[in-house]
Symmetry: C2
Subunit: 343 residues, 2 copies
C-alpha cells in the first residue's frame, strides 16, 4: 500500500522564490488605509506552504519563460487563494484557521468580506497588467467553479445520502480545479506545447484531489494542535467527507452514525467514536489508497515532460502531501512501520 | 435654491437598452447549479434604475463605438454593482434592500458571499473577453477604492467627531468613484478624445456625490415603504451622514444627539426627533444645496461635449436624482411649492 517512499529532502531540489513572491504580494497591495494594511499583514504572516504558487512556478520552469511574469502570476494565484480562505471564514463562522484565530474571528465579517474582495481585485489587476487574457480567463472561470463548489457543499450539508461521486465533484470544484489552474497558468506563462500543458494540468488535478482527501482525513486523524482547528470540525459543520461516506456504507456504524448526524450530536466522544470506527472499518485505509492512486496517476502525467530539476520537484510535491499527512497524525494513532523508520 | 427645474419626461430622449443589458447579464452567468441560478434570478428581479450601466451607455453614445462592446461593459458594471450590494448585505446584517428581503436575509451569509464573488468573477471575465485592459484596470482599481470606503465607514462608525471632509472622502470611495468609473469606461469603449473623457469622468464624480448625499437625506426624509428599509437605518448602524454631521455642529441638538449616539439610543422616537431637528435647524436644506451644487458642477462639465440626445439624457440624469428625491419624501414632510406645482 505504501508504494511511494517519502524523501527526506523534498522540495529543495529547485529553489522556490517564496520571498520574492511574498514581497511582490506586498508591493501590489496598495493598502490605501491602515485597516486593510494590518489585515493583509495578519494574513500573510499566517501564510502556509504556498503550494499553489509553487505549482505555477515549477510548471513554468519546465520551459523558457519570462521570470517576472511567472513571479507575478504565482503572486496572483496566492492572492486568489488567500481571498477564498478569507471568504470561507465568513461562511463557516469558523474560529480557527491554520492554528491562529481566523481573520473573521479577530476583525468581524465586514473586514473578511472586504479584505477578500480587495485581494481578488488586486489579483486580477496584476494579471491584467501583463495583458494575459488567457490566464485571466483561467482565473475567473476557476473562481466561478470554486463558488459553485462551496454552494454545493452548503446544499449537501448534513445529507447522509451524499455519494462518493458527489464528494469527488465537490472536491474538484473546491480544490482540484485551482490546483489544475495553477499548472495551466504556469504553462501559459511559458512557451509550453499544448500536449505537455494538458498533461501538467491533469497532474495538478490529481494532486488537488489527493490534497483534499488527505485534508479531510486529517480532520479526524490529527489533533487540534497539529491541525490548527478542533478535530472533527468538518462533520460538526455538516460537511460529510469521504471517510464518513465510507462508514455510512457499513451496516453497523451506519445506524448510529446516521442518528448522530440527524440529531447533530457532535460531542467530543462522538467524534472520537467516528474516528475509531473509520480506522477499524478500514475507511481511513480506503481513503488513503484513493489519495495514493490520485498521486500515482498525477506522477504518471509528468513522464511526458522534459526531465530536470523542475520536473523532479513536481514529483516530490506528490510525496510531500503524504509526508505532511504522516507528520500531522496524532501520536496515539498507528503509523505504518515503513514511514516511522524512514523519518 | 431650486434652480434646476424638473423635467416630466426625463430619461426618454435616448433609448436605453435595459432589456438587452439584462439579457446579456443572464447570458454570461453560466449558473452551474440551481442554487446560484435562483440567487441570481432573485437579485436581477429586484434590479433598480440601472443608473451605472446607463452612465456607461450614454457616455459611449457621445462618440462612435462598437455597440456590443458597450452593452457588455454596461452589463459588467451592473454585475460589479450587484456584487457589491450583495456583499454589503453580509456586512451590514441588514434585513432589507430595495424594499425586498435582502439576499442575505433569505439565503444566509454563505450564499451572499459566494454569489457576490461569482458576480465579480463574471464581470471581469466579460471585460477580459473583449481584451479591454484599460477598462479592466479601471474596474479593479474602483473595487479596491470601494473596499477602502467600506472599511473607512466601519472605522468611523458611531464617531461623533467625523468631519464633512471625512464624509466626502467616504462618499467618494463608496459611491462617486464607481459613477466616475462608469463614465470613464463608456469613454474607453468609444473613440472619445482625452479632454472630453476627463470632463465626462468629472461629471460622473459630481453625480455620484449628489447621489450619495440625496440617498443619505432620504434615510431620514422618506418612510419605510418608499425607502424599502426602516427610516434612520444609517444612524442605527453608526453610519453618521451629512445631515447628522450638520446637526452635531449646532449647540442645542449637539448635546442630546451626542448622548443618544454614545448610548446607541435609536428608538423610533429618537429617529423622529433627529429628523425634525434636521429640518428645523436647516441641515436638510444645507445638504440639499450641496447636492444641487454638485449636480450643477457636473452639468457644467457636459458643456464641452458634443450636443445631441445622449448629452441631453446625461443632463437629465442629474435632474432625475432630484426628482426621485421629491417623489420619495414622506407625505407629512414639507415639499417646496415650486416642485409640487410642476409635478
Amino acid at each position: 500500500m505504501f508504494a511511494i517512499r517519502l524523501e527526506q529532502k523534498a522540495l529543495t531540489l529547485y529553489p522556490f522564490p517564496a520571498d520574492l513572491i511574498n514581497r511582490r504580494i506586498r508591493e501590489v497591495l496598495p493598502e490605501p488605509n491602515e485597516e486593510i494594511g494590518s489585515l493583509v499583514d495578519y494574513l500573510l504572516a499566517g501564510s502556509g506552504k504556498m503550494l499553489r504558487p509553487r505549482l505555477v512556478f515549477l510548471s513554468a520552469s519546465l520551459y523558457p519563460h519570462e521570470p517576472q511574469l511567472v513571479i507575478d502570476m504565482a503572486a496572483a494565484v496566492e492572492l486568489v487563494h488567500l481571498a477564498s480562505l478569507v471568504h470561507d471564514d465568513v461562511i463557516d463562522q469558523s474560529d480557527c484557521r491554520r492554528g491562529r484565530d481566523s481573520l473573521n474571528h479577530c476583525f468581524g465579517n465586514l473586514a473578511s468580506v472586504l479584505t477578500g474582495d480587495y485581494l481578488f481585485a488586486t489579483a486580477f489587476q496584476l494579471v491584467n497588467r501583463h495583458g494575459q487574457q488567457a490566464i485571466l480567463n483561467t482565473l475567473t472561470s476557476t473562481i466561478q467553479t470554486m463558488c459553485a463548489g462551496e454552494i454545493q457543499q452548503m446544499q449537501l450539508a448534513f445529507d447522509v445520502e451524499i455519494s462518493e461521486a458527489d464528494y469527488l465533484q465537490k472536491s474538484y470544484r473546491k480544490t482540484a480545479c485551482l490546483f489544475a489552474a495553477c499548472c495551466r497558468i504556469g504553462a501559459l506563462a511559458s512557451v509550453m506545447p499544448d500536449a505537455e500543458a494538458a498533461a501538467l494540468e491533469e497532474y495538478g488535478l490529481c494532486l488537488g484531489y489527493a490534497y483534499q482527501i488527505i485534508d479531510d482525513l486529517l480532520d479526524f486523524m490529527s489533533d487540534r494542535d497539529k491541525l490548527g482547528k478542533p478535530c472533527g470540525s468538518d462533520l460538526r459543520e455538516g460537511n460529510i467527507t469521504l471517510p464518513v461516506i465510507c462508514l455510512l456504507r457499513e451496516d453497523e456504524p451506519a445506524a448510529w452514525l446516521r442518528a448522530a448526524i440527524d440529531q447533530k450530536d457532535f460531542s467530543d466522544v462522538m467524534i472520537e467514536n467516528v474516528t475509531s470506527a473509520c480506522i477499524n472499518h478500514g475507511a481511513i485505509d480506503k481513503c488513503l489508497q484513493l489519495a495514493f492512486d490520485f498521486i500515482a496517476r498525477g506522477l504518471a502525467q509528468l513522464e511526458s515532460l522534459p526531465p530536470g530539476p523542475a520536473r523532479k520537484e513536481l514529483m516530490s510535491m506528490g510525496k510531500l502531501l503524504l509526508k505532511n499527512y504522516y507528520r500531522s497524525l496524532r501520536c496515539d494513532l498507528h503509523m505504518p512501520e515503513e514511514e516511522r523508520t524512514s523519518s
